[in-house]
Amino acid sequence: MSVHDTNSTNGSSGSSESNDQPVVGLPGDERDVLISRVIDGVASSEDWKIFRAVAAHDPSIWSELADTQQIDESVRASVHHVIDIADRIELPGGMIDDRTMRTRIDLVSRWGGWAAAAAILLVWFFGNPVGIQPEDAQDSNIAGLPLFGNGTTLLNDAKPEQALSQYLQAGQQSGRVVGEMPEQIVIETRPMPDGTIEVLYLRQIIERQILDHAYRELHDETGRAVPVPVKFSPSADRSY
């Protein structure tokens, strides 16, 4: 039995307090390797012969074996638990060299901020969200408002509240809109010269979409957004 470590970074790992003093004829490293082979189930009959011979003179090797095995089992269990997540990680499927996808990523990236982060998952499957138009888009009116493909304007003569109400109703009927949060978040208030107060606030509307696939947005070393697939387990009862 021989022991090698051509690149040892710490050959003298044993301390003076170590309780695993090598027995005569079996240096510490060889004793460790022997124990390790038994734990890994690769000990040969020759190894076992040596092990029994050592144990005959120094029975403490049995408790060393038991302790080391117990520790090893615990480390294995913990590491397995942590790296199980690796099984969910898939390659960014077919998208790296896909020009269309890249264009979409660039569009979303240019938009920037939280809105883009929120929108990116949907962008892949539903096209550009309203408000993001390709640079060469022809279908926009003078005000830059989006038009439907057939040239019909999205906005009609309804007042904003009426238009929003229509959207909420239609959305709820189709299942797209879940509802509107009762709270409105105030972003800023400021007094106006005429004595009134201007309030900027967020209205929160919850929408839902059913997707075939979902992607997370990561950034490569150049800072460019890259989508990577998220693998969901059908049995998982948690949401992400």
Binding site: N10, I71, S78, L91
Partner: protein, 200 residues
């Protein structure tokens, strides 16, 4: 690992690339685990490695070099995250004037992994091994990874891997025994102080 599969992946075949990733991702996770900052998210780092593998595998010269190349990619990703974490901590220190960093805060994955005190203690001891021992010990935890396969990733002879795993396990035993002695001494001190306090 099949050399033909690696060759096909290097040539850009998606199917081969996907199979290659699936057979590598668990040991890649152990490399990341060994090198990443404690609070870095393993899942995020794995995603970045997957992305880099996809984009740069064509730069691998020959199939035999693949494993060590992928390990280098993983180490670089982990180190890059380490630099980011350090920068974040520095800016936090400037902002709030803290004098101590929170290096010891465990990542969520670490917390999950170590549900009991005992297993947490052992896991943390494993993560405190010197790098030369930590990597092979963690990789050995991946089912079906032989000494030879670990040697291919770490570019070390099989005998060296075997010795490092054996020493690493011994070190772990010693670290834990030392901790046990310290805890015992601490308990003794506390109980003798309590006893003196009770006598008064």
């Amino acid at each position: 690992m099949n050399e033909a599969l690696i060759e096909s992946a290097i040539a850009g075949e998606r199917e081969a690339l996907s199979l290659l990733w699936q057979s590598s991702r668990r040991w890649v996770a152990t490399i990341l685990l060994a090198h990443k900052p404690r609070d870095a998210d393993l899942e995020d780092l794995l995603q970045v490695v997957a992305m880099q593998m996809c984009r740069k595998i064509s730069t691998v010269d020959e199939p035999k070099a693949f494993k060590s190349w992928l390990r280098t990619v993983a180490i670089n990703v982990a180190r890059q995250e380490g630099r980011k974490t350090t920068n974040r901590k520095r800016s936090m220190l400037r902002l709030v004037g803290l004098e101590q960093s929170n290096d010891r805060s465990p990542s969520p994955a670490d917390v999950i992994a170590a549900e009991s005190d005992e297993s947490r203690k052992i896991y943390q001891a494993a993560m405190s091994l010197p790098m030369g021992y930590r990597e092979p010990v963690l990789m050995r935890c991946v089912r079906s990874m032989s000494y030879q396969q670990i040697g291919e990733v770490l570019e070390l002879p099989t005998t060296t891997i075997e010795t490092r795993i054996a020493r690493g396990r011994r070190m772990l035993r010693e670290i834990l025994a030392q901790q046990e002695r310290e805890q015992h001494a601490e308990r003794e001190t506390v109980s003798s102080v309590s006893a003196r306090g009770g006598a008064r």
